[in-house]
Amino acid sequence: MMIKVIPYRRHDPNEQPASLYPAYRATVRRAPREPLILLPHTLSEITGPVYGHDDIGETDSDLTRQHAGEPLGQRVIVRGRVLDDGGRPVPHTLLEIWQANAAGRYRHKRDDHAAPLDPNFTGSGRTMTDANGGYQLVTIKPGAYPWDNHDNAWRPAHIHFSLFGRAFATRLITQMYFPGDPLLAYDPIFQSIPDEQARRRLISKFDLEITQPDWALGFRFDIVLRGREATPFEA
């Protein structure tokens, strides 16, 4: 049986980070040196796991309600849409996030930053996009934190986002940043993306309409996954 596979579109390499970027030291021993081999999409790449749909709990998308008390820090609402690169919504896809607390400390055994843990904050959340690709998360603004990449190195405030999309080809893990963060200019992870406009797409936008009076600041963060090539004509 002949199977017609409509492939996903390829990335512009300038819009993705360089894999070897010595300013980010960990890449030196972990980045492949051989060129990647172009893999024409088959059924293996255009399918992918349908995962995590059944076990999303009520407080998973509100990181401020996962403990007995409220976490310290600035409450923020992050709202956006997950689209494909043709502008079509990506519905019912899993979105997982993790982040530091307001003091810039992760609840993780390998984080030894001398900043306090917050007993009321775990820093992990998950949700599904709705039928229009929309999602909303409530959390606190993560703090910046130092890391040992270079002298006086600090990561800008960020939230990690993990998405599956519809296929093996659409898997994406990225980071969301906050507007006006002076540390972005010094951050090799952010700066590893060659194209400036592409970098800007990882910076959320302050949004007064999402902002809730007397309660929380609102930020908009849309995520664009790869879409498919136009359907080929039947010969």
Partner: protein
């Protein structure tokens, strides 16, 4: 080619050292095919090594595979045959202190390739870690499988590097296969532009 209405894709960023918090702390999946799944049982021992040959103890491995008949548990697999309900085909684990993740699964069947070809049994693998900017994609094939010489994707790989894509049977343990992922260095694994 991009059209006016098109959106530019979001760039990837590294998962960093703390991904366990959001991904594997509560959402690990070590079993891709339950005990009732049809097919030859496989215990897959994957190890991730850096360019110095040092085990990478802070990486995440994800695997996606077809069932024993080569059918994917996904609506975009158009073939009418039913998928094995005991083979969801997805796994993900963080590597341990030795850089190792162990998955329980079955050997997948042959999946159609393009232009009427048939692929050899393989698993689709993603590797994430601190220092990896963008998901590294590779494939696991089974060493000495009769179908390997016919596989259209292996044929794209220079012959001397194909061995990096082969899981090898563990001579001491029945059903166990070992697969080392060398991120870079002398035995660098073949990674694909997916």
């Amino acid at each position: 080619m991009r059209h006016n209405t098109d959106q530019a894709p979001s760039p990837s960023q590294t998962v960093g050292p703390y991904f366990h918090l959001g991904c594997t702390a509560t959402q690990s999946v070590s079993c891709l095919a339950g005990p009732k799944a049809k097919g030859e049982r496989v215990r897959l021992i994957c190890r991730v090594l850096d360019g110095d040959g040092v085990p990478v103890n802070d990486s995440m491995i994800e695997i996606w595979q077809a069932d024993s008949e080569g059918k994917y548990h996904h609506p975009d697999d158009p073939r009418e045959k039913a998928v094995d309900p005991d083979c969801p085909g997805f796994g993900r684990l963080a590597t341990d202190e030795h850089g190792i993740s162990v998955f329980e699964t079955i050997k997948p069947g042959r999946v159609p390739g393009n232009n009427g070809s048939l692929q050899a049994p393989h698993l689709n693998v993603s590797v994430f870690a601190r220092g990896i900017m963008k998901r590294l994609a590779t494939r696991i094939y089974f060493a000495e499988d009769r179908a390997n010489p016919e596989d259209p994707i292996l044929a794209l790989v220079p012959e001397e590097r194909r061995t990096t894509l082969m899981a090898k049977p563990d001579p001491h343990k029945d059903g166990a296969w070992r697969f080392d992922i060398h991120l870079c260095g002398e035995d660098e694994t073949v990674f694909f532009d997916v």
